[in-house]
């Protein structure tokens, strides 16, 4: 795989002084600041008009006190934070594991160096050696330049956790990033692409601020399209009290493409197995941009899921294809807004499988649910309907590293598609490379940084394209579906992106369906259908 090296070059240390906090905000490499209205909507401090390129960020007069008190408070509250500040031995095992480092070559994107940006401040203000010996003990003053540097580099971390897999001490730089972002939010430093959807979610229920009637229209349109494709009337119930299951999905599933084809796939599946379910016009967003901002905001946005499950009187919750949505649901929801003792242990009404892994959250991932149906032979697939696709699978960071969902999507894909090839081992599963656009980085203005961060992932896709002719990258994350097509168009043209349940929907043989003429995208099927 690795070709013969053409050369040997001497090892050199990175130039410059790492303590120099000054950063250049070059167009294309950072996200725009939150405008005042975003912060007002969310009741957050220091609303004002500013941009990272401004010399004066208009921080509150006592910004330093706020940050240091914020640090002190979190050091006391989170043992993990204190440990992560203390235990790094700079062994370097994580150095070449971050996709932003691999795509940019910027040494401050090495995970331990990223963490060092706050660790040095921690030493200065919270350790004796740092207080006494300053820079000799690796300590740094907290200055406005440091605040700017934090903003630059902690919004260049997608909280993907790849580095943590390699750290012998389990230091999770993603959690350090989360804490620094939270600290920055205390002085009104955050990004528009995070706070706007968060505000919409808080007020209306979803990222785009789609009102209930428009939500209903979208789902009605899906019903019309499903009728065209399958000849069946596939109803999508909204706010139906007493349903057995509440289905929660990322809102992109009903407003963006290619996400929408995944929505069609879920609905076909639920119809085929006769699932007694409902969606909610209020919990119309599984995604939670609060995760990228602060613990408090994440908790506030997440609360609606259990609240709706209770109001609608369902027994358990099923969740669609989304990355960070699952990080929140799997790792934080139960602690933040549980216990969900008004719900029951999820049991598949078709196979009788008890999802004991979800005994506490009461929420099952749709890939687990579908894999279980396939395992028990409860649905029939015709994989030849996906024969135009040569498929590989991108493990989205959050489901893969955040919740260990590695086998189920593959189990579905291998049955729904005839042509499936894995990318190289060190680039998938728990070692997966991030899309480079997660954690609120996936905006327009940050495009060049995203392309840097996404390069290692694209490079592995390119490998399977050259080896096997791969033309479709499957994934189970809404941010991936929004941003991987861009990454592919730039680095590996000719590779499309699709959700696992889009491919499942293509292959699903449905009772009473008409002869399929097209796939879920409305494109003619490669071969004539043989059965009705």
């Amino acid at each position: 795989m690795a070709d013969k090296p053409a050369i040997d070059i001497e090892l050199k240390a990175p130039k410059g002084d790492w303590r120099d906090a000054r950063v250049e905000f070059r167009k294309g490499t950072f996200s725009n600041a939150s405008p005042p209205k975003d912060l007002v909507h969310l009741g957050l401090p220091n609303p004002r008009k500013w941009q990272p390129t401004d010399l004066d960020w208009q921080l509150p007069p006592d910004w330093k006190r706020i940050l240091l008190e914020g640090m002190k408070d979190r050091l006391a509250r989170y043992r993990s934070f204190r440990l992560f500040m203390d235990v790094c031995v700079r062994c370097g095992a994580c150095a070449d594991k971050c996709h932003f480092y691999l795509g940019s070559g910027d040494p401050k994107n090495m995970p331990f160096a990223r963490a060092e940006l706050i660790r040095s401040v921690y030493r200065r203000y919270f350790t004796l050696s740092g207080r006494l010996f300053g820079s000799l003990a690796g300590a740094r003053e907290l200055t406005e330049d440091v605040v700017k540097e934090w903003f630059y580099y902690f919004y260049q971390c997608t909280e993907c956790r790849r580095c943590s897999i390699y750290c012998p001490f389990g230091i999770d730089t993603a959690e350090i990033t989360m804490i620094v972002r939270e600290l920055l939010s205390l002085i009104g430093v955050s990004t528009h692409w995070i706070t706007e959807p968060a505000g919409n979610c808080y007020r209306v229920g979803n990222h785009l601020g789609i009102a209930p009637h428009a939500f209903k229209d979208s789902l009605e349109f899906a019903r019309d399209e499903l009728r065209d494709i399958t000849g069946l009337d596939i109803e999508i119930p909204i706010n139906r009290k007493g349903a057995e299951v509440l289905f929660v999905m990322p809102s992109a599933d009903y407003f963006a493409t290619p996400h929408y084809y995944t929505l069609l796939g879920y609905m076909m599946l639920f119809h085929e197995i006769g699932l007694d379910f409902t969606v909610s016009a209020y919990a119309s967003e599984g995604g939670n941009f609060g995760l990228f901002h602060s613990n408090d905001l994440m908790k506030r946005l997440n609360a609606k899921i259990y609240a709706e499950a209770k109001r609608l009187g369902v027994k358990w919750i099923l969740g669609g294809e989304c990355g960070h949505m699952w990080r929140v649901l799997h790792q934080y929801m139960d602690t933040m807004n549980g216990p969900a003792d008004f719900l029951e242990m999820p049991v598949s009404p078709v196979t009788g499988t008890r999802f004991e892994n979800a005994a506490s959250t009461k929420m099952v991932h749709v890939c687990e649910f579908t894999a279980d149906l396939l395992y028990h032979g409860k649905i029939k697939l015709d994989p030849s309907r996906n024969d135009e696709y040569v498929v590989t699978y991108h493990d989205s960071c959050n489901p893969a590293r955040g919740m260990g969902l590695l086998e189920e999507p593959r189990y579905v894909l291998r049955r729904a598609c005839n042509h499936f090839h894995e990318m190289p081992a060190k680039t998938i599963r728990e070692y997966t490379f991030c899309c480079g656009s997660g954690a609120g980085l996936g905006n327009d203005e940050n495009m060049e940084m995203r392309l840097r961060g996404g390069f290692p992932r694209a490079n592995a896709v390119r490998h399977v394209r050259e080896e096997h002719g791969v033309n479709l990258l499957a994934c189970i994350c809404a941010i991936d579906k929004a941003t991987l097509p861009t990454l592919m168009d730039y680095w590996v043209p000719g590779v499309q992106v699709a959700g696992v349940h889009e491919l499942l929907g293509n292959a699903l043989v449905m009772t009473g369906e008409k002869q399929r003429a097209t796939n879920l995208r409305g494109e003619p099927l490669a071969k004539e259908e043989v059965h009705a």
Partner: protein, 155 residues
């Protein structure tokens, strides 16, 4: 080591120098394309360009190699001079390593390489606007699909 291999080695060192030594470090320590995709991309494509420089100067092969290199360099923290300028370092390297090239218009060949590098750099920059537009269109993909549907046109 053959002359082209030595030239490729020196040239890679010059290209890597634009990254302030860091990518040079990658190229020296990492052989795996998945551990060091920048180093691997540079190494692979510079070797191909050196082959063309000493060989047929096939335009399609030169463009293809620079397309990959410039896809990277055009979106990294490099000014256009630094992103493209390393091509000219080949002049001194080739003079030193391959004096027998006398008779071949080495300077003319380097100018053709530089022109291709610059074209590919610009092409990459231009693609960024298109990528943003397409991403925005996909973000409202369902509304567009509905509009097309109501017009009776395929989405």
């Amino acid at each position: 080591m053959s002359v082209p291999a030595t030239v490729a080695e020196r040239w890679l060192a010059a290209a890597a120098a634009a990254y302030g030594g860091l990518i040079a470090e990658h190229a020296a320590t990492w052989r795996d394309p998945f551990r060091n995709p920048i180093g691997h991309t540079l190494r692979r494509n510079l070797a191909a360009l050196v082959r063309e420089f000493f060989g047929a100067m096939d335009e399609a092969s030169i463009d293809a190699a620079f397309a990959e290199i410039m896809a990277l360099r055009s979106i990294q923290d490099l000014s256009v001079e630094r992103a493209v300028g390393f091509v000219f370092t080949l002049r001194d390297i080739a003079r030193e390593q391959a004096p027998q090239m006398q008779g071949v218009d080495a300077d003319g060949r380097i100018d053709r390489l530089a022109l291709s590098a610059f074209r590919q750099y610009l092409a990459c920059r231009e693609r960024l606007a298109e990528l943003k537009l397409n991403e925005q269109l996909r973000a409202i993909g369902v509304a567009r699909r509905r509009a097309a549907h109501s017009r009776g046109a395929p989405a």
